[in-house]
Symmetry: C2
DNA sequence: CTAATTCATTAGCTTGAACTAATTGATTGA
DNA sequence: TCAATCAATTAGTTCAAGCTAATGAATTAG
């Protein structure tokens, strides 16, 4: 049972399964845009490690980058989560547990 | 940046990140109830490997078991996916992309 | 120009994960 | 009873993943 070459679900899951790397993604997401140096501060790992994590996040489609001068700014790409959403949706998890919220939510939006 | 002892999100993500193990979960889910021997057939790995995968799926709260005679039947426990749902919900992924579906869905259920 | 900063990459180490093969305990069928 | 089946566990191997330390390329500050 091997993914032919590499299933996107596997890529995204693996990227987010590591706590350190997931923390990096979370910080990038919260920051709108953030440099590698800034990410390294308070991360508990070296700059090289951060760069490696960013690389796999990027390959998973979860972050994008923008170079400016000697800095490289990263931003989150939440569309990268889509494979996860699809996979979970296939298992019908969302609607089941959130049915009661739907009506109230809809009324807030379109009263 | 280490999970204190072990974050549930990490546990679930790691459990599902492996293609073989995820395939096991998918088969369990589709089967309502399925024995280890049956899971082993056509899995491409040995029975021992399947048992190991089931063990970590169980620890992640993704499957439950029922022993009967010399068989052990496994069933999916989709509530185990809740940590994932919460985590992704925190990133606002769901509603954004699925707003247009909500109205039609609601009308089907409560016309 | 020189020194310092930022980031990516690489080699090397260590650890954990996935697997097999084999064993064991339990249950069932002949 | 005895052989066979089912499932869990264990020891042992292999390989990948995460990390550090070090280096190098590019940019900027003095």
């Amino acid at each position: 049972m091997i993914d032919a070459v590499q299933n996107p679900v596997t890529t995204v899951m693996r990227a987010l399964a590591d706590p350190t790397r997931r923390a990096v993604f979370e910080r990038v997401f919260e920051s709108k845009e953030i440099s590698v140096a800034e990410l390294t501060r308070g991360s508990g790992v070296t700059q090289g490690a951060i760069s490696q994590h960013l690389k796999s996040l990027k390959q998973a489609g979860l972050v994008a980058e923008r170079a400016e001068g000697r800095n490289v700014y990263y931003r989150a790409a939440p569309q990268g989560l889509e494979p996860l959403v699809e996979w979970m949706d296939h298992y019908g998890v969302f609607w089941r547990e959130r049915f009661q919220n739907l009506r109230t939510l809809l009324k807030e939006i379109d009263p």
